[in-house]
Point group: C2
Chain length 296, copies 2
Amino acid sequence: MSAMAFVEAPAVAGSPLDHFLDRNRSRLEARLASECEDLGSGLSALGEVLGRAVGTDGRGGGRWRPLLTLAAAETCGGPADGALDAAVAVELTHTASLVLDDLPCMDDAATRRGDLATHRLVGSAGAILLSVGLLSRAVELLGRQPGYGGTLAAEWGSTVGLAGMAGGQAMDVSASTALRGAKRRLHRTKSSALPALALSAGARSAGASEATCAGLAAVGRGLGWAYQLRDDADDRAEDLRLGRAAGDWRPLSRSARIMRMTLRRLSRVPGLGDEGRDILAGLAVRVVPDVPKGEF
Amino acid sequence: MSAMAFVEAPAVAGSPLDHFLDRNRSRLEARLASECEDLGSGLSALGEVLGRAVGTDGRGGGRWRPLLTLAAAETCGGPADGALDAAVAVELTHTASLVLDDLPCMDDAATRRGDLATHRLVGSAGAILLSVGLLSRAVELLGRQPGYGGTLAAEWGSTVGLAGMAGGQAMDVSASTALRGAKRRLHRTKSSALPALALSAGARSAGASEATCAGLAAVGRGLGWAYQLRDDADDRAEDLRLGRAAGDWRPLSRSARIMRMTLRRLSRVPGLGDEGRDILAGLAVRVVPDVPKGEF
């Protein structure tokens, strides 16, 4: 599913998910825009490009990762507002990973979010430094959370580092053949680590227990992996259409299987309110619409 | 002064600085080596190169930044051991910045620390991901510090980000003419931000007051800037030798002036023990030996 499809998909009118999105989308966008303005001030070209990379011009996609953070906070009984900094940190981290993935030395992508890729606007050096700037601001935002900033920052470190997104991307870049065992598991973290942090950070901001944070992190890992498989399925459909595909790799059926498992797991996470759990499940099904919501 | 000169420079036998270095150098190297081993495990080529980038084979240079962290902790009455994680975080952050600076799209350096530059060993993509991995581990180490991990992580974020090292490097890369005003000040942070964090993080680990942390951060900024000017002076001497120099830019006299100011500032930082202050001053003069120690 494309990011725009997520934004435009009609929710059931008046559903708790609807109300949640109404309350939180514009607040999130406003905070992202003000953060980018602050971060880019005095930086000329790099500053101007920063908002475009994050998509504060309305091309930022579905923002499902930071919305997960806000939803997790509400589900755990806290106000979504208390998780706004963490949500922004999650989206800045995601954007940084996109900017790096698009570099000529990585995936060499020319466009992103309906705009030119950042390195096409400010060169590779500018894109790398902008990415480091986004990551650093994410750490600032998380570290400043009173009481649990250190824990969040440490979790961010393991999410982004060589046992997480950076390691997963390294597997992605280096894989000449199919990955197996530990390397295959590491590769998955490229997609699964950040949704896990998104959920656990939201829960933490609401003072949730370790069991709740860990349970939601596992849900986030499942969702991130199912999302990646769905993305692979779209690529594969394109390959089949062009007569390029081979083998019997069927990512769509695997994505549906993992989504079912993930939704079952969500139903067992302790300490969540019923309405909040419903909002999280609704969000998850919008992100990976391979399982009819009535099925769980 | 080259990094190796720092390592080999004779200290006054039996001086407090001597004893400090005896106590702490090998512990620091051992922790750096074990951190790199842990960080690189399961990563094949990238893992093997990690220790080389950090210089755990003995080519890591003077390690003056992390030694500042340990010295600051002792000076503030804490054990140096309590600042070992923070010191390692500082050195990993420094290494990450070197790996990025050396990339073909930045300074395009072929060698570093007497070895091939990281991108010459694992390509640009590998070097960038390794760098993100080092930065992320630094955040993990800082965030985990009990009680002040969030503060340290937030300070790390502003040190490394677009108002700090990344912004300074952006000025370095983009400058076609001499920088002025705010851009010139931002450029300085490339060299001055990390020594400031090195000192304040050590002080924080020993439970120092905000005034002490801020005072030591200012000393670190001065030292970092003097170090950079000294480096510029070495480049300029080389240019003069080759008949390439022009203008009357005299970095060496500026470096000495800033060192004098920095040492005066150190003498006024509240809450430091006399012997610790002496060790810090001795370290500073080793890093930028443009001011005779007897002068302050």
